[in-house]
């Protein structure tokens, strides 16, 4: 089997010297102007999942030093290099577009905590505050409609939380080439956002983060990065229905 780390441009450039998962050598699968960076996988397991995740990340970051890179989801395994090549060619147009979009950019992540965070999914008060009357008379319908009502209640709460975060998010988004706000944080407590920031604006973006943090003492902010643009690649995926606030700068 073949493990895939990323899809990048400049297929003729030499690969970084670092090795991949389980110290396997990195290799290329090329389709025209894109290259998938891969390594052999034969059912091994490393002792620590944390190490595996970081190794995956480190390969991608090494590639980013001189290429535009689309990071793969962790654990992308395909039966053969042949199959990788086929899929590259199938998705070629979309991949090229994504590569263009992320070239010269990194991802910066934000998480926002508001004062009144709680695990709303397990919150018993959610069930009792559902204002919708039960629907249907048969057990299946009653059950499902109750779930719908609960879902709506949770969505209302999410919306309320989001409005608190909006101003801070918008300010940050104005300094990025693209941004997305995760408005369906299910089990997580925080609302999160991702920003596609051009490399030469990273320093000024960090300054804006500090300003925003000072201007919004009611929020707790966690900012991390730079990351490969995980949140800004779409090739091969089904379109998501989550809110995708993409602004062009």
């Amino acid at each position: 089997m073949t493990y895939v780390y990323a899809i990048a441009d400049r297929p003729d450039e030499p690969l970084p010297s670092q090795s991949g998962l389980h110290d396997e050598a990195l290799a290329k699968v090329i389709c025209r102007d894109v290259v998938a960076v891969v390594s052999a996988f034969d059912g091994w397991r490393l002792s620590k999942a944390e190490d595996e995740l970081w190794r995956h990340e480190e390969v991608i970051e090494a590639l980013m030093s001189d290429r535009a890179v689309l990071p793969m989801r962790f654990g992308t395994l395909l039966p053969s290099r042949q199959r990788v090549g086929d899929l590259l060619c199938e998705a070629y147009g979309a991949l090229v577009k994504d590569i263009e979009r992320v070239r010269g950019h990194v991802e910066i992540g934000m998480r926002f905590l508001t004062a009144s965070e709680g695990r709303s999914e397990d919150d018993p008060s959610v069930a009792s505050s559902c204002r919708l009357p039960p629907r249907g008379t048969r057990p299946g319908s009653v059950y499902l409609w109750a779930k719908v009502a609960r879902d709506r209640e949770l969505q209302d709460r999410r919306r309320a939380k989001l409005s608190l975060v909006r101003a801070a998010y918008e300010r940050l988004a104005s300094h990025a080439n693209a941004s997305r706000l995760d408005d369906e944080p299910d089990d997580r407590q925080e609302t999160s956002a991702a920003f596609l920031v051009s490399r030469d604006r990273i320093v000024s973006f960090r300054e804006v983060v500090d300003e925003v943090a000072n201007a919004h003492p009611e929020l707790a902010l966690l900012c991390t990065g730079p990351w490969p643009p995980y949140s800004f690649v779409n090739a091969g995926e089904r379109a998501t229905s989550g809110s995708d606030d993409c602004h062009a700068a």
Binding site: L113, P139, G140, D186, D187, R206, T224, W227, R238
Partner: protein, 128 residues
């Protein structure tokens, strides 16, 4: 070399709250799990069976929740007939009941079956 790698990882944090309590809330799934389910190392056959059950049931529970979430979405979108809603609801109801029985059999609570995979929603969204 190990130390250098670790240092590089730490440098990902650009801005964080200074308050330790807030930091803890951001710390993520592994910290959360550790606080909620303190574990002892016990090497006996019963616990191996239970651990396996926990892993399997966690996956099943995850799928069940995904299915439910998607069903709710379809109901909200109005793309299902009354008959389909009833059938779907009845099946999900039975699924939930069955899961309850299995959890009771193995003495597993909801917290132990929670796999914090964060936004798995992008696996279920856009399917309509």
């Amino acid at each position: 070399m190990q130390r250098d790698a670790t240092l590089a990882r730490r440098q990902k944090v650009i801005h964080a709250p200074t308050d330790q309590a807030l930091l803890d809330r951001f710390a993520g799934p592994s910290a959360e799990v550790e606080r909620q389910s303190p574990q002892r190392i016990v090497a006996d056959p019963k616990s191996v069976e239970r651990d396996l059950a926990r892993l399997v049931l966690s996956v099943v529970e995850l799928l069940r929740k995904l299915l439910e979430r998607q069903a709710v979405r379809r109901v909200e979108n109005g793309t299902l007939s009354e008959e389909e809603i009833e059938r779907l609801g009845e099946t999900l109801l039975k699924l939930e009941a069955r899961m309850g029985e299995l959890k009771a059999t193995f003495g597993l609570g909801d917290q132990e079956l929670t796999l914090d995979l964060g936004p798995l929603r992008d696996l279920v969204s856009g399917c309509d």
